[in-house]
Subunit: 203 residues, 3 copies
């Protein structure tokens, strides 16, 4: 079940990568790479940092196929994607939840500290987008106003809180992903942003 | 033989890195780093992703020496490099072929799927340039109009097609590199580019 | 002792990361990530390249705590940091020396060639700033005019020269760090920069 959602999330992330790349006048190879790193960049960075190599997508081609399908679908339906915005947001948000859980899992599996596991969960869910923005020559959007990462951190804290109270594993997974998904959907609906801090604050 | 061509390719890539860095008003250290990542960045990324560490150039100083020599040559002959453009293109193209073959080889050596091996070959040959462009604060040129990467992918497909038909190893290597080198030279001569896709397509 | 200085250096680097991020209108999460990569990015890159995973900060939370404390201090005292510029420079420079030594050490520990060890020392001390600048969408400052990296390379050469003459280990560490720290302070005081090379030279 988690695996299936993971694949769906990967496809949704790839589609959102294609949409970002559309604004950058790239050639098809460039668009594909942007879709690819958006989808698996976070998990790849995580795998590299914890030494889980060859990284995930090299050992399970289903991720690669999911990205290729997402890429092709986004190209074919590019004119209709606007109408599908809501479904896309939902799949993207499912991806956010599932990727966070998988990142947490990988950290726990090698006995890392909860703080590090939460960092790994957030990295898995959010850093594909960071790498995408770097490749597109922009300051990563999640550093500027998206509360994307904050939601993953909250999800991670909920996860370990539930574990502390010895809630069953299935329930922990379900509640954590529901928390992430619902905060994200609320955040989009009510336009929650983090305030920026910086120069204007100093002067 | 492959090793010697690899070293020559590394030197050619380093020189092309210096030429790119010239347009960016960098200090000598900056120029050297750009030369370095252009030359070995792709192979380094590949090694990190498949867990072949310490990465290649740390275990064989000949790569480092080749880069240093390329760097020094490019600085000394910078005013004459225009006249050597054709020889440089040739060496650079040899590098493209050899780096692709080496990437394919590393993937095969650890039993990865042909699709992943082709990705590794392309990465080895092309992602040094991607890292160079990121460090120079530009959208990677191979994402925009160069068919660089496409050629490596075609080379990879030829490689596995020949292997499927049980052609001898030496011949596979020879044909694959000739295919890559000749497409690249034709592409430069006849100005083949990939079309861009994007915003204009949507509106 | 080296460990304590390492932690202090990490905190100083995190503070300098926050100061850079202030100029970029980031949200708190973005500022924290910039502080984080400035502080441990160089060591993380080194660990990944030599295969020392999970990378350093995942196995010793004191680095994470040092960054969090540096982050909070920089936010609280942001209006007064101008007055503390000199102390900050001193801590930052101690970080430069200590990080170089630690990078050298990690390379020596796995029997890499002195040239590679010097590269690792320089990477540890300087590439956190490189990753910070990439995330902030700028050409890394150490590629343009800072002699930061050059100082680390000189420090590395001094280190191996002293080792060649069989100076005791403690003395090597002391002298190397003093060399790095004093050149850096002189460089700041007398505004030593590397000249840029490039387009203007060609034309």
């Amino acid at each position: 079940m988690l695996y299936l959602l993971d694949i769906i999330g990967t496809m949704a992330f790839a589609i959102s990568g294609v949409l970002t790349a559309f604004h950058k006048k790239l050639d098809p190879f460039g668009v594909f790479i942007i879709a690819f790193v958006t989808a698996v960049g976070g998990g790849t960075l995580r795998d590299v940092l914890i030494g889980r190599t060859p990284v995930g997508w090299m050992q399970d081609l289903n991720y690669v196929y999911a990205i290729i399908i997402g890429f092709v679908l986004a190209l074919i339906f590019r004119k209709k994607l606007d109408k599908l915005r809501k479904s896309l947001l939902l799949f993207d948000t499912i991806g956010l939840g599932v990727f966070t859980l998988i990142g947490l899992e990988k950290g726990i599996a090698i006995d890392l500290h909860p703080i590090i596991c939460i960092a790994l969960g957030t990295m898995t869910a959010c850093f594909g987008g960071v790498i995408r923005d770097i490749l597109c020559n922009e300051i990563p959007v999640i550093f500027r106003r998206e509360i994307y990462a904050t939601i993953c951190i909250i999800g991670g804290i909920v996860f370990f809180a539930l574990e502390y109270f010895e809630v069953s594993n299935d329930l922990i997974y379900l509640i954590t992903s529901l928390v992430i998904i619902s905060i994200r959907l609320f955040a989009v609906k009510f336009k929650w942003y983090l305030p920026t801090i910086g120069k204007n604050v100093i002067s």
